[in-house]
Amino acid sequence: MPMQLSARWMLFAALSLAVSGCGRQEDRLRVGANVWPGYEPMFLARSLGYYDGHPIQLVGFSSAAEVIRAYRNGLIEVAALTADEVLLVAETQPLEHRIVLVCDASRGADVLLAKPEFETVAQLKGRRVGVETTALGAYMLARALERGGLAANDVTTVAVPLLKHVAAYKAGDVDAVVTFEPNRSRLLAEGARNLFDSSQIPGEIVDVMLTRRKLSESQNRTLGVFVSGWFRALDYLRENPKDAAARIAVRESVTPQQFLESLQGLDLTDRAANQRLLGSRPGNLGETLGHLSDVMLNQKILSRAMAQPVLDDRFIQATAP
């Protein structure tokens, strides 16, 4: 039964949070993320032992919504989120967060997939579109509908959790689904048609690591270790893609080959790009966030405009080779 499965999973997550109290409360750095290839470098770093001996705990969640909930409730210190989700978090606590790392920019990995008989977005008018009730989902759908010349109430939005995207599609519960890797790969394998993807809105779907502005000294130090391990893992991924894919694919429930293909849909942001995006010069992440904020206000995903989260490039600078 789906509900029981979900509940059991949540119970497990909560228990693991409780068990992780073995380290000192204030030392511990808990990083939460949902399943997304762009977040994999940190799991790769853990798998390669880069975080051994440091109180870094990586926590998987079933959806970005749960990541936000856990982050808001203080169950995790660092949240891997898309830029629009960051704005959503900031809506209620505008000045308390900072972005310390840009993980990736989606370039086709976020998609609107539909049954093969639909060829354009416009044809979806009056149809059921499955979407995770997340900011990202809402944002992707909003942008897709905009492209297809449709308004929000031209389609029936069906809230489908991320884990159910493939199942809902196969069961015919929905005609189209807003999703991303690794579901994208699986659905394409099922014959779904790509009507819209993030490569059409480059630089808008950005994944970042968000953390609170006030962390303890030792947590800040651990955060430095986390960021430098991230880039080491990126280097490893570039140099040993096979082995890295083999290590990651298991978590992602795809074959290593599929994983590598899924990486095609996004740009893993390297150090230099991070320095640019988190720096203080024009062309940084702030502009993207501003743009995003406008779209989200327009779509009533955000109820009010607010101060953007702080861009903190100290950790990037510290890891500069």
Partner: protein, 1191 residues
């Protein structure tokens, strides 16, 4: 009011009270803690429960599976204490609740109405919120979640809340009951324990205390036979024992009291001190016989009839009435304190006497009586007065004693030091409060101190053992005075009744005189001169060993006698009379006397006799100092004799020669006439004689002596000529002489030549040649007179060899010095260069200071080496002065620049004054001249701290051929005393050895300057007053330039280094100066550094190559003529690609004193880049640097 209480009740009562109080406080505290723990437990439980539950709830609600959520909520209701769980939608309407009653009702109607703000907060922040209700009866948790997406919405906007409320009240109630239960049990238990304690105390403690109380009461009531019964705990038993002991002691003491009273009565009656007992009114009650006697009464009753007041005069010595003071005393003692005071009393016969009275109050059976003890003080007072007077006298005596004296008490504490002690040793009594401080101050040296202490203790021990009060310390002590002066002291002392009296006698002058006397007598003893001392009558008191050995008489032989035995009889009695007259009138007599030794020999002595006077001026002794001059007189005689003989011989020989000449001349004249006669004379001549044909050199004739000299026989005569018998080396000289003879330029000649004998040996001959052709025109024959001078030549040659040896030894010394300097200089250049590089790097302040010290020390060491090298050159006479044209005025100006810079750094004013008549164009050695000037001026800068330095140059005397120029350097420095001035120009001497430590330097500079000035036909000197500065001056003689010549360099204005020059070159460039003359080095370095360049100097080519190998330079200034390796050779090595210098293409600019045109080409050919002539002018140097330094 006292409350009677018993221990056996009060202790358990107090304990019970404490137990109740403690139990109560514990109960309250535990309740609070338990409640707090419960609240936080439930709060945490509620929050984490919500975290777990809410995602599932959200998912289900979004899917519309309200049934699933309802199940979950209902199951929640089954949880204990869960009083309420419900889900409210965004409008605060209850969607689901544990109690159906609340469904679809607004929140305000539910029991959670009061928690609306909590729910709103959770919804707004989208964060789980929790709190405890104000009455602390429930824990409330609100957990927000999104409801499903509405049509037209992309993102859910409606936020529902899952609200749970857990009841605390029931749990708290239960917990409180439990705590009360436990508290009641604890209270009951502590009451029971108190009851037990009461019983125990009754049995073991209080009962026995009652017994003890009864026993004490019985004894007091007279039942003294009562014994306390033992019982109870150990402590009480011990008290019982003590009580028994007390009872028996009291009984015994009562019987002793009666006995004691009797004893005291006897004591009272027989006491020698007067005892008076009076009532408070002063009426006497009782007295003892001693009192009757003291006051001079016949009968005790007479005394008792008096009042105490009448035993005293009306007034006491302090002027107060006796009556009044008596009242005071009575009131003072009435408080029970006894008083002792002095009191004037009066006897029955009216005589007053002082007494010591001790008054106390007796309380005898309720009656207060005064008890007075009177001690007659008249005797004691008199003794005290006497003692005080005697002690004052004694102190005065000590104080006025002419020797330093110190009084110590028996513990070694100083009682008195007299004036003399303070004067001589400087220690006041505060300085030496005790013997130990005298030890430590007077004998700072531990060994001396120990010796002195041992002497002191030994003397004390001796005093004690021998019952002698004289302390005699055996040794003299070297006592250190307060001012640090050490005095030799004899120490004597006396052990008096209660102190030591120590007297010091300063024997320092005595010891000094003794020491001097000892030294003088030693000098006399070992003097090589004869010394005799006689009394005023001329009787011998002392003669020294030298006298004994010359005369042969011993001191014992002549003591007490007049030295008549010595009289030789050579001198007339008037001679001695004159002698005695002279010395008798107090004059010193000097003269030579001939005396006779014991063995009868005569000898001459040079004598000085001086009278010795005593303090009254009376002559007491004569001292004669004599020198045996017999040998000298003999030698003088001999020398005189020889010279007479020599003169005589010369006369004879001259006469002989003249005669021989005459004879020969005559013989020549008579030759045709008397061949035989000539032959005879010819053959008789002591000189070798030959006749030679002038043109051919063939020997016509020769005498035996000639043949002997030439090593030939008469048979050889025909076969030899003058050439064949002459050593080949001497042939050309002879030939030249003969040719002049032939030409008729000279009538004859004289020469020294070697004759070569057939056996190869050589004989030196002095040859006199006379032309035999008497007429004018060519010479046909000549006569040679030959004297064998081989012996003389041999000694001459030996002399030459010796000279050569000496010279080569000196050369070897010079070379050794030069090599040593070279070997030391090479690594030193490395040290200085590398330190220079180090200083270019970024250093912290301390490292920079260290590196700068290394740099300065290295430079000082190099300067020293250069000084030593100069000095050795001068010593060896190797220093050759140049004679080149130069501009004197600009040279002086240039030399002054680096000095002025140094002076300015020290804040001293520096001026250079040149008289207008000082010439520009002169000829001499500018480098060496500059060296003298820089040395003197440099010293002035070094030794002057404030004020000014003036260099004054003036022309003393211009002559046809030269100028005498005078340089003077005046400073306001430390000055030099007259004694030091004399030593100044000596080698290795500084004016004051203490300054060398402070200012550094080799002490060679002035000696070198002096030598250089003298080499330039000048002089050097100094005038100075200590503290007022000095004037050093020197003169040099410089040649005039030949009229057609011009100065090698145009003269430059003195301010040649304008500020803009220093900006031309980028700093950090490094220039190497290869130059052997130190002053030229310094000038070049000064200019380069002024230009902002780094510059190092080396002294020859090899060092230059070495420096280029180790350090990165940008340019080399290369002197051409240098010792060891000249500039050409060094350039060749630098340019050679196989050498290991860093840059083979480094620009090399030659510096040379050669003012010749061809030098430039020679330099360029040798691989150098450019050329500047010496003395180097800044202008030319700047031009060359501009061209060749990389921009």
């Amino acid at each position: 009011m006292r409350i009677a209480y018993t221990l056996r009740v009060s202790i358990p009562l107090l304990l019970a009270l404490a137990a109740v109080l403690f139990t109560g406080i514990m109960a309250v505290y535990e309740t609070a803690a338990t409640f707090r723990a419960m609240e936080s437990d439930l709060l945490r439980q509620g929050v984490s429960f919500s975290h777990i539950l809410v995602p599932a709830v959200e998912r289900a609600m979004q899917r519309g599976d309200v049934g699933d959520v309802e199940d979950a909520i209902n199951r929640l209701a089954l949880m204990p204490q869960m009083s309420l769980a419900m889900v409210c939608d965004d409008q605060d309407r209850v969607l689901l609740a544990t109690d159906y009653l609340w469904r679809n009702r607004p929140l305000s109607e539910t029991p959670a109405a009061s928690r609306r703000s909590l729910i709103a907060r959770a919804r707004d922040a989208r964060v789980v919120q929790s709190e405890i209700s104000p009455d602390r009866s429930a824990v409330c948790v609100a957990c927000p979640f999104y409801l499903d997406v509405l049509a037209g919405e992309l993102h859910p906007t409606r936020i529902a809340v899952l609200y749970t409320q857990t009841d605390l009240a029931a749990g708290k109630h239960l917990a409180f009951d439990g705590i009360m239960h436990r508290t009641a049990i604890a209270g009951a238990a502590s009451m029971f324990a108190c009851l037990l304690l009461w019983g125990y105390l009754r049995v073991t403690f209080t009962r026995h205390l009652d017994d003890l109380a009864c026993a004490a009461t019985d004894y007091a009531a007279g039942r003294s036979d009562r014994k306390v019964r033992f019982g109870g705990p150990l402590e009480l038993a011990r008290i019982g024992d003590a009580l028994n002991q007390l009872f028996s002691d009291l009984t015994a003491r009562n019987s002793a009291l009666v006995l004691s009273e009797e004893k005291f009565r006897v004591l009272f009656e027989s006491s020698r001190d007067a005892v008076l007992i009076a009532d408070e009114g002063g009426n006497l009650v009782d007295c003892n016989p001693a009192a009757v006697a003291m006051f001079g009464f016949a009968d005790k009753q007479d005394l008792l009839s008096r009042n105490v007041v009448f035993l005293s005069p009306d007034y006491q010595p302090d002027g107060r009435a006796s009556r009044e003071r008596f009242r005071e005393i009575v009131s003072a003692v009435s408080s029970g304190v006894s008083r002792i005071f002095e009191w004037q009393l009066i006897r029955n016969d009216g005589a007053e006497f002082p007494a010591e009275v001790s008054v106390s109050v007796l309380d005898i059976r309720g009656r207060r009586l005064l008890h007075g003890l009177v001690l007659d003080l008249s005797e004691r007072k008199r003794a005290e007065n006497e003692l005080r007077a005697s002690e004052a006298k004694y102190r005065e005596l000590v104080d006025m004693a002419p020797v330093p004296m110190l009084l110590l008490d028996l513990h070694g504490r100083s009682l008195l030091v007299n004036d003399r002690f303070l004067e001589e040793l400087g220690y006041a009594i505060e300085d030496v409060p005790d013997l130990d401080s005298l030890w430590s101050k007077g004998f700072p040296d531990a060994i001396q101190r120990l010796r002195a202490q041992n002497g002191w203790h030994a003397a004390l021990v001796r005093c004690i053992q021998e019952q002698d009060d004289h302390l005699v310390l055996p040794d003299e002590y070297h006592l250190t005075c307060k001012d640090g002066q050490v005095r030799t002291m004899l120490v004597t002392g006396r052990v008096l009744r209660d102190h030591y009296q120590i007297a010091l006698q300063d024997v320092t002058p005595l010891r000094r005189a003794t020491e001097m006397l000892r030294r003088l007598s030693l000098a006399v003893e070992f003097s090589p001169s004869m010394i005799m001392i006689t009394d005023e009558a001329g009787q011998v008191e002392y003669v020294n060993p030298a006298w004994e050995s010359v005369t042969g008489y011993l001191l014992a032989d002549v003591r007490g006698q007049k030295p008549r035995a010595l009289k030789s009889g050579v001198h007339a009695s008037e001679f001695y009379g004159g002698l005695w007259r002279d010395i008798g009138s107090g004059r010193v007599w000097r003269g030579e006397i001939c005396n006779r030794r014991r063995n009868g020999e005569l000898y001459w002595e040079a004598t000085a006799i001086a009278p010795v006077r005593d303090s009254d001026g009376k002559i007491t002794h004569y001292v004669a100092v004599k020198e045996d001059i017999t040998e000298r007189r003999a030698m003088e005689d001999r020398a005189r004799q020889w010279s007479v003989e020599l003169e005589h011989k010369v006369e004879v020989r001259t006469a002989e020669l003249a005669a021989a000449n005459r004879r020969i001349k005559e013989a020549m004249g008579l030759m045709q006439q008397s061949e035989a006669k000539f032959r005879a004379m010819f053959e008789q001549s002591p000189l070798g004689v030959s006749v030679t044909e002038t043109l051919t050199g063939r020997l016509i004739d020769a005498n035996e002596r000639f043949l002997q000299i030439a090593g030939r026989t008469r048979f050889d005569l025909a076969a030899i000529d003058s050439k064949s018998i002459t050593h080949p080396d001497d042939q050309p000289a002879e030939l030249a002489n003969v040719e002049r003879l032939i030409a008729g330029e000279v009538p004859g000649f004289q020469m020294e030549k070697r004759y070569l004998r057939p056996n190869g040996s050589v004989v030196w001959g002095s040859v006199t040649v006379e032309n035999l052709s008497l007429g004018v025109g060519a010479s046909r024959l000549y006569l040679s007179l030959v004297e064998d001078i081989s012996d003389r030549k041999k000694s001459e040659e030996a002399l030459l060899v010796a000279k050569d040896l000496a010279e080569s030894a000196n050369r070897a010394k010079g070379e050794f010095l030069a090599n040593m300097s070279h070997e030391i200089r090479t690594p030193m250049n490395g040290v200085i260069g590398m330190t220079g590089l180090l200083l270019d790097t970024s250093l912290d302040a301390e490292q920079r200071r260290y590196a700068e010290t290394i740099y300065a020390s290295g430079e000082a060491l190099l300067a020293l080496l250069n000084d030593i090298l100069d000095f050795s050159r001068i010593e060896a006479g190797k220093l050759e002065l140049e004679a080149i044209n130069f501009d004197l005025r600009s040279m002086i100006a240039e030399s002054a620049v680096p000095l002025a810079l140094r002076a300015r750094e020290k804040g001293i004013d520096f001026q250079c004054e040149m008289e207008p008549d000082v010439p520009s164009g002169v000829r001499g050695d500018p480098g060496r001249l500059r060296q003298i000037l820089v040395n003197l001026a440099g010293n002035a800068v070094k030794f002057t701290e404030t004020g000014r330095i003036t260099v004054h140059v003036g022309l003393v005397e211009p002559t046809e051929s030269d100028f005498l120029v005078r340089f003077a350097v005046r400073d306001t420095g430390i000055g030099i005393s007259h004694e030091q001035q004399a030593k100044l120009f000596q080698k290795f001497t500084q004016a004051d050895s203490s300054t060398s430590r402070r200012y550094g330097g080799t002490g060679l500079g002035l000696a070198i300057a002096k030598d250089l000035a003298e080499l330039m036909n000048g002089d050097i000197g100094v005038a100075s007053q200590p503290g007022e500065g000095s004037e050093f001056w020197f003169t040099v003689r410089l040649s005039r330039q030949l009229p057609q010549e011009v100065a090698d360099e145009p003269s430059l204005p003195a301010s040649f280094l304008s500020a803009d020059l220093s900006a031309i070159f980028s700093s950090g460039m490094r220039v190497l100066v290869a130059e052997d003359n130190v002053v030229n080095q310094e000038v070049a370095l000064g200019i380069l550094r002024k230009l902002g360049l780094r510059a190092d100097a080396v002294s020859d080519g090899a060092e230059a190559v070495e420096a280029l190998r180790t350090l990165p330079y940008d340019l080399v200034l290369m002197d051409l003529q240098m010792p060891e390796m000249d500039g050409f050779e060094a350039t060749r090595i630098i340019r050679d690609p196989r050498s290991d210098v860093r840059r083979h293409d480094i620009p090399i600019v030659a510096m040379t004193a050669n003012a010749m045109r061809g030098d430039r080409e020679q330099c360029l050919n040798a691989g150098m880049n450019d050329y500047v002539s010496k003395p180097v002018s800044p202008h030319a140097l700047v031009e060359a640097l501009k061209t060749w330094l990389p921009k």
